[in-house]
Symmetry: C2
């Protein structure tokens, strides 16, 4: 069964709905959707749902105890964020990023995240630094305890929080999307046991930012991202059907 049903459903009470006609629907329904969205999104980012995995509407609907209507909404959102691919009459599946897409994503991060560093440095305070250090710490812990997928997500969270501190909500949202996709890319192309982000890096970065040294932070972020990208092994494991040509085509 590989990795089905969410191992750590802190939220997402799982299959209520059906016969819970008495007490309304517990949550306001809207929050429930958000929770489900997050559950699926996290599962993808943490590679519990692997690239290429089919996401059947019925199945999801049953697991989460809502009807297909709500599931479709969530799948569409995920599709717009390019975490899932929606093929016309074939349904949804977890996106398998191509090498080109990976390059685009990291180039974009290079441009945006680095460009944001001066702003972040300017708005960095005690509280923010403390929060970031806490995040970096949790990330390190996850890594040490062998929970690589969780660490990947925490690392993404760190980068997103950083972007949010720039004060530009729009760019922060872009970074959020880029980080999600990066997690997917790491999950596919990353070497096992070698997480892209060394959490030590993150601590160093906080230092520069706390010192208000935006330029230094920018340069560091640039190297940091380059290091992540360089750690990837960009071999497109084409499991389609081109083997014959390659093997016999001679």
């Amino acid at each position: 069964m590989s990795d089905a049903q969410a191992p750590e459903n802190r939220r997402a009470s799982a299959k209520v709905g059906k016969e819970s006609k008495e007490g309304k629907d517990s949550k306001e329904g809207d929050e429930r959707h958000e929770a489900i969205y997050r559950a699926v999104s996290d599962a993808i980012v943490e590679q519990r749902l692997k690239p290429g995995a089919r996401l059947r509407e019925d199945a999801l609907a049953e697991v989460f105890g809502i009807s297909r209507t709500g599931i479709r909404k969530i799948l569409q959102r995920l599709a717009l964020e390019q975490l899932v691919t929606l093929t016309p009459r074939r349904g949804a599946s977890v996106t398998r990023p191509t090498a080109d897409e990976a390059k685009d994503v990291f180039d974009a991060r290079q441009l945006i995240e680095c460009g944001l560093m001066p702003d972040v440095a300017r708005r960095m305070g005690e509280k923010e630094a403390a929060e970031l250090r806490e995040m970096a710490k949790r990330e390190r812990q996850a890594l040490r305890s062998g929970q690589q997928s969780v660490a990947i997500r925490l690392s993404a969270d760190f980068h997103v929080r950083l972007a949010q501190l720039s004060g530009n909500a729009t760019l922060a949202e872009f970074v959020e999307r880029l980080c999600s996709r990066s997690s997917l890319i790491l999950a596919v192309y990353g070497h096992r046991g070698h997480l892209g982000c060394e959490s030590h890096d993150h601590d160093d970065l906080i230092g520069y930012l706390e010192a208000g040294n935006g330029e230094r932070a920018k340069a560091f972020m640039s190297r940091h991202l380059k290091a992540i990208e360089a750690s990837l092994s960009m071999v497109e494991e084409e499991e389609n059907v081109p083997d014959l040509q390659q093997i016999f085509g001679g």
Copy 2:
């Protein structure tokens, strides 16, 4: 009448559907959705649908001859792009950008579009330059013939095409979203008769790019965007109800 109903509706045949039961549904349905999406999106960008305008699902469903289901899908997509605002039990309305959002958007454009210029300059060829000049020309024509809303959209198209020429699809998509929102911002905060983008600017920019002078183009784009932003009158015409506090509160 300003400029109502699409002056050049190349696509979006408008209200077929209903009695077209004979030949299947003409288009593959998927393309139809895309067409409707574009029709609404364009209408918003061209200010035929003004900020604050309510978008009732029934009404849209009837106009386009599909059911609410399809409309909802489209509205959600527009909401994710922040062109429409979806309030929980109140339905959809065209987003009224705040001053803060406007600042974020233009800061983001400053960072991304300027950062893209060197890449664009590097990949600029004869054909691309010719295409861009053609676009600039059409924009100028629209402006001269008084079709300001159309000109706004064409201007956005120009910036988007430029970003696409960078070769980074992800960043190009971001620019697309930023340009849509910019059009909305211009529609709200722009002075009538003074379009943000002087089309002459665009021609100059093409020149620098064609000469392969990325840095020059970058600096020019920066000034260009600053000029647009500066041309806005950022008065939030608050038509809410806070007058009482302000007037008597002292």
